[in-house]
Symmetry: C2
């Protein structure tokens, strides 16, 4: 096997096929709404047989779930900057950047609109992972003495992510370049405590 691994990722034929299908799905999500995307399109774009996709994932929905979780793991980093404000700005900015991409936007629409049971599992897995990452940020802040406890912190995290989704989905407005800083400073300082 001297054939180069696509995009330098390690792994054998199966891992390369998986990555090709995930990459194809990500690319197509920039052009086609998730509901209109077909396994045939994805397979053709990835250069594999549709039967291979069905054998590995079973359904388009299961594939979309893996793509969502893979992109989430790759792009939605949870950096350790040394300060609560730094960690939160980096985390919220990464979500904003992701939602500005066609694939990120498509996945946000999918999360809000898909009605089947698999989609609910997808939502629970996705948000469970995201909240667990946020919790680690708040736990570190408590250890550093920046926060007394993390009780309200997850609500603040949810409110920041919610504002990003709400602005692009419900209001259909673009996200300001400094939206992460705006939100983090609001959540940390509050409205009345700065007066």
């Amino acid at each position: 096997m001297t054939e180069p691994t696509p995009k330098g990722r390690p792994g054998g034929r199966t891992a390369r096929t998986t990555q090709a299908v995930i990459d194809a799905t990500t690319a197509l999500l920039g052009e086609v709404a998730p509901a209109d995307l077909t396994v045939g399109q994805i397979a053709a774009h990835a250069g594999v047989n549709a039967a291979t996709v069905y054998r590995k994932w079973g359904t388009k929905e299961a594939l979309l779930r893996e793509v969502l979780l893979t992109l989430s793991a790759e792009r939605l980093t949870t950096p350790d900057t040394g300060s609560l404000r730094g960690d939160l700005v980096a985390t919220v900015a990464a979500v904003a950047d992701f939602l500005r991409t066609p694939a990120g936007y498509a996945l946000a629409v999918l999360a809000a609109t898909a009605e089947d049971d698999t989609s609910q599992e997808l939502r629970d897995a996705f948000w469970g992972d995201r909240f667990a990452r946020a919790e680690r940020i708040f736990t570190r802040a408590v250890e550093r003495g920046e926060l007394l406890d993390a009780d309200d912190a997850l609500l603040a995290y949810e409110a920041m992510i919610a504002t990003l989704h709400f602005r692009i989905l419900a209001r259909r407005r673009a996200l300001d370049a400094d939206i992460a800083e705006q939100l983090v400073d609001l959540m940390l300082g509050g409205l009345t405590s700065r007066n």
Copy 2:
């Protein structure tokens, strides 16, 4: 005209027809997704001719816009309780109550998913009205000396409303009974100022 006005609302035949169509649409939105709702269904439920609905509104989308704005005006009150916290809790709780109703939920889905130009006008009119109402709350708070300025306040309002929409649409979780108080106390006090 000795015929009683339906539901005690004032106005002549035209006003009664308008109200009957709005009431029928509101009722049907509890049972049928906005995309699947037809003018024929609405007219039949209201006891009027479909031609009457088309004559007054032109399209289903224009009717849905009026229903959204009418329900918003009726149910999303902007009370003057004498304190910023009281005004915000009442305002956010009214939105949460509305989103817990089938019609409110259906309209939130509609706002997030409809793609046509009329829907964008609907969104702009709806959110423009809601933000203007919130601004009056913050202006009163500035006058009372509770806030230095209203600059960040509209972002806090957006973050609270966003969290309600996000939790029911993106996460598909129920809204806690005390979600309004949780959000208002977070926005007013912030995470770090309470330590």
